[in-house]
Symmetry: C2
Subunit: 332 residues, 2 copies
């Protein structure tokens, strides 16, 4: 029996479980020559998937209605008629939200469960770690002694960005939405300062106080009014890494905010949006760095593991309420 | 007799003539060893001066109250006790709004009135041309066949940007605020399309129509809602050159606009603010290119010359009503 989760409706605003549909298929899956039968082990849920649920123009085509959702998946090879993969291998790739599926093997990479927990390959050694490393180093171009601010700092990407910032010798300030997360930033991830935006009246002043030398690099996961407050504190030649804008992904109209242009001109500042695949030529270097730091215990990560295929849609929805600490994955 | 224009008040919103004060001094100016006596010939008025009239943090320190305003000036050397300059030379530099002044010669460059009209050294062969060339080439990185949109297109910088865009093989669309300016863009400066934002109801659609392949490079002189409309039409990997934001320079509160972050992420787009002095190492190359194009009649320019020192403040104020066509200079 194979279970699949389809996109039933394009969400209006915040997604609900009604936007998803579960279907069950009892037919046997046939493995043809060159193909693999995969059993899903872990599924990644990520804010960017919200974009693919709308039909707006974006960097990846929208999901089709009544077709399976896709995201990063770790799966076990159950049977193989493909010379590159053996039964028992674990692979990562962009795959359907299905309990089992057939694959041609294209775009799959083997992962080694003896080197790191399987879920890490969806996180710190996967897209999350690559996004943090490539965005920070390629766009942020951090220099020792500079000040880095990270929004969504307790999230999957943010917590890695802050740690890399510390490893590179920066002062690192994290912004998050609960006191528990702020505590975690400092005790677990080594951030110098944390600001709880939900209990802070004047974010502009709080950032100015935490960053008395101004902000040189801003790694932005959230957009919206938090980013406006950071931008009012940037230094000359600041670099703003625009990784995500989770605070406005569910907006049903075009979000408004501070006009950034005058601040960019005044400060000769750069703002660059990106997706991690823009830097695919840097992946080998990045994975090598991340794996070394991880092996040396210089890097740590949080993950929130939700159990059960049936809980996938809710786990995704919970991202928008900040219910995850670190990378959110679903164990099947 | 020396006349000087002082900053009397920091303007609230749009400057008025009451923000300036004229003073007259009858004392003789003494030229000491190493110094020059200069007589002002042309004064440049530029939107960026508005920023220096406020006391907000910016890339250049604010003007002091009750001191002379400064901007780009062409002056004649009346007498010289400096070995680098002779009586009768013409020089350009950042100088006071005075009819006569003493200078140490630091920061002054000689200009040759036989090669181009003196006023051109404040425009196409001065900061205007350098701003256009360096911003477009260093940040915009235009590629043949791409689409370039220029706002403030009939202005000093914008009209040069559009022409360079055409020389480099781009499709060029200009945005300006009168039908007369739109006509000029096409007939004089060779733009492919022009959009009058004052008579266009839906700017987003008008830009989409003029740029059916989307916008690859946007040279932004204005900010505000015009820029919002352009940004809604950018392509993947678009480059947004943020040169100025004249539409909001007189705002008394922080201007609001479209939240650009989601558009930057979706399109992996870059937005970079700058001032021309960031690229001073490119100036020799740029001036060489501009002078060659000018000599070959491949580049033309407009200028609005206002006569009389007493009209300097009004000429500056008129910039914000778009009364200039091309570079605005005041002939003394």
């Amino acid at each position: 029996m194979t279970k699949t989760i389809l996109l039933k409706n394009r969400p209006e605003g915040k997604p609900t479980t009604n936007d998803f549909e579960f279907v069950t298929d009892d037919s046997e899956l046939t493995v043809n020559k060159g193909e693999l039968l995969l059993e899903t082990a872990y599924v990644s849920v990520d804010p960017y998937l919200r974009g693919r649920m709308s039909d707006a123009k974006s960097y990846v085509p929208p999901f089709e209605l009544n077709k399976a959702i896709q995201s990063g998946v770790i799966a076990k090879v159950i049977s193989s008629k493909n010379d590159n993969f053996n039964e028992g291998d674990y692979v990562s790739g962009m795959l359907d939200w299905k309990t089992k599926q057939i694959s041609s093997g294209d775009g799959l990479n083997k992962v080694d469960p003896s080197k790191a927990p399987l879920s890490a390959y969806l996180g710190i050694l996967g897209m999350t770690g690559l996004t943090a490393y490539c965005g920070l180093t390629e766009i942020g171009k951090p220099k020792e002694g500079e000040t880095l601010v990270v929004s969504g700092a307790a999230g999957a990407v943010g917590s890695v960005v802050g740690q890399i910032g510390k490893l590179l010798g920066l002062k690192v300030i994290g912004i998050a939405g609960t006191d528990e997360k702020i505590e975690l930033l400092k005790s677990k991830f080594g951030f110098d300062e944390g600001i709880n935006y939900k209990t802070t009246d004047n974010m502009k002043e709080a950032i100015a106080k935490a960053a008395p030398n101004g902000v040189d690099v801003y790694f932005d996961n959230v957009g919206g009014s938090i980013s406006d407050a950071v931008l009012m504190n940037i230094n000359q030649f600041a670099r703003i890494v625009v990784c995500g804008a989770i605070s406005v992904y569910n907006s049903t109209e075009l979000p408004k905010g501070l006009s950034v242009q005058p601040l960019l001109v005044k400060n000769s500042a750069l703002m660059q949006g990106f997706i991690v695949s823009n830097y695919s030529d840097k992946f080998p270097e990045a994975i090598d760095k991340l794996a070394t730091w991880l092996g040396d215990d210089k890097l740590t990560y949080s993950e929130t593991i939700v159990e059960g295929f049936n809980n996938l849609p809710q786990a995704f929805i919970d991202l928008f309420d900040g219910k995850n600490k670190g990378k959110m994955v679903v164990k099947i």
